[in-house]
């Protein structure tokens, strides 16, 4: 069967160049980078080379990069570490209603430990307003954490403006750039953020590895793992060397190819969005029409439910998702869509198509061929479809 992968926001295939480098590594260079001997030094060299690549990719210096086990750990580490070191200074944290669970659940947990939390609303496009951020700031605010691009609806947030606002008030700013990194160009300088999260497996790199950028001078402390002195005391535990090497390589390639990939992806995405919204009735694009990730198309289909669409697509070999991969095991409709004001019953009919570097116009054609009959079939079964 033809297999089409349209779920690149959930995870991406490892690029062949990255996989090759990691495999060579797995087989040959196995030292513990903490060890003083030859094997340790060989591993250390590669870890530091990867750190330089990741730093270069976001315009940071290598010392500002800490390797972690993924985006979730980076988000937790960023938020918890800023909260813990500043708790005598203030206890107010600002975030948005459409963050990934790794951010929103971490902030909510702090809310139970004496922190005050403001969860900003978003507009119908899933966008946070800079004015809302400004209005929420108090003299107790110690952290603003707002994602760079949303995973479910692809909306790109005004982080540059929020970053300079935070800076002007002396408030630490974190952004989760897991979805934007490698897809839209940015540097930490340009965004004006103090901490920034990335994850390997969203940029054609390995799973189980990520990084946290911590700007030099940022008030932050290690507060998640206790243990060895790795990562200059910022992250305990033997480094995932092959994973780190893979992340470095993937970051380097992502930035090298960013421009050409983005054009390719936009062409596919725009055709997909245009055709789906004109050829199928009762369909709406979710997220911002223009301020969105180049590879991201997400919709709601009225009268039918997301999972049954996914299963039908899967039977035809197409892999897509409904809401974020992390929540698709649950019965709740996506918190992102609800925050955007989409009614429950419509939010249940959401679907997300996220494109990647190997997708072709033929993949889009195939989708456009199989999707209308699926929608018709499910709508015919639905007690909601009134026609």
């Amino acid at each position: 069967m033809r297999r089409v992968y349209f779920d690149h926001s959930a995870t991406t295939p490892v690029r062949p160049d990255v996989a090759d480098e990691m495999c060579a590594f797995l087989k040959e260079n196995f030292g513990n980078p903490t060890s003083l001997h030859y094997f340790g030094r060989q591993a250390r060299k590669e870890v530091e080379a990867a750190r330089e690549k990741v730093a270069a990719a976001i315009g940071a210096t290598p010392n500002e990069i800490v390797f972690t086990s993924g985006g979730t750990e980076s988000d937790n580490m960023a938020i918890h570490g800023v909260a813990m070191i500043n708790k005598n200074k203030g206890n107010h944290i600002i975030t948005s209603a459409v963050e990934h669970h790794a951010v929103i659940n971490t902030v909510k947990a702090l809310g139970k430990e004496g922190f005050t939390v403001t969860i900003l609303p978003v507009d119908k496009y899933g966008m946070v307003s800079v004015d809302d951020v400004a209005a929420a700031i108090t003299d107790k605010t110690i952290l603003i954490t707002i994602m760079h691009a949303n995973n479910e609806v692809g909306t790109i947030m005004p982080i540059k403006e929020i970053g300079s606002l935070a800076r002007s008030k002396g408030i630490t700013m974190h952004t989760d750039a897991v979805q934007s990194f490698g897809k839209i160009p940015f540097s930490v300088e340009e965004l004006g953020v103090d901490l920034l999260t990335i994850s390997g497996h969203k940029i054609y790199g390995p799973k189980g590895v990520g990084a946290l950028y911590i700007r030099k001078g940022t008030r932050w402390k290690q507060s998640l793992f206790h243990g060895g002195a790795q990562e200059r005391l910022r992250r305990a535990g033997t480094e995932n060397v092959p994973g780190i090497v893979g992340l470095g390589k993937a970051a380097e390639l992502a930035i090298r190819d960013l421009q050409s990939e983005a054009e390719h992806l936009k062409a596919l995405r725009d055709r997909l969005i245009h055709e789906v919204t004109t050829k199928i009735d009762y369909v709406k694009l979710t997220g911002h029409p223009t301020m969105r990730l180049p590879n991201h198309a997400s919709f709601t289909f009225e009268f039918i439910e997301g999972e049954s669409m996914l299963l039908s697509l899967d039977l035809k070999g197409v892999a897509a998702s409904s809401g974020s991969a992390c929540t698709s095991g649950s019965l709740e409709p996506s918190h992102v869509l609800l925050a955007m004001g989409i009614p429950h019953e419509i939010a249940h009919g959401s679907i997300r198509i996220t494109l990647g570097r190997d997708n072709t116009m033929e993949d889009i054609d195939y989708f456009l061929e199989i999707m209308p009959p699926i929608v018709n079939r499910l709508r015919a079964m639905s007690p909601l479809d009134q026609e």
Binding site: F303, I304, E305, G306, E307, S308, L311, L315, G329, S330, L331, P333, H344, E345, H348, A380, M381, S382, P383, L384
Partner: protein
């Protein structure tokens, strides 16, 4: 995640649609929860002669609706009333734990339809 039987009923649902002038109709769930099931019955001599369903819901919801209609077709009302959500799930070779509530819906919709039929009979 789903058994072959579930996928078969999802892909080729039995008895989809509506019955004109049904003898009983049951609807459970609501769109806010993401599930609605509607079951139509045609009853003759206390036997379910025909049954159809319409469902808004996930794969398990569609499969359990289809399964329950297949299970009751030709059965007496007494037999049909005995069908529980567990029986529906078992007939499908099992459901993931998170999806057990979908089979509840199917059994509930059936019971509601039978109840509706009986209520109408009483009024006659």
């Amino acid at each position: 995640m789903y058994t072959e039987k579930v996928m078969d009923h999802f892909e080729n649902p039995r008895n989809v649609g509506e019955i004109e002038n049904p003898d009983g109709v049951g609807q459970v769930g609501n769109p806010t929860c993401g599930d609605i099931m509607k079951i139509y019955l045609k009853v003759k001599d206390n036997v379910i002669e025909d049954v159809k369903f319409k469902t808004f819901g996930c794969g398990a919801a569609i499969a359990t609706s289809s399964m329950v209609t297949e299970m009751v077709k030709g059965k007496s009302l007494d037999e049909a009333l005995k069908i529980s959500n567990k029986m529906v799930a078992e007939a499908l070779g099992g459901l993931p734990p998170k999806k057990m509530h979908c089979s509840n819906l199917a059994a509930d919709a059936l019971q509601a339809a039978i109840q509706d039929y009986m209520d109408k009979q009483e009024k006659k």
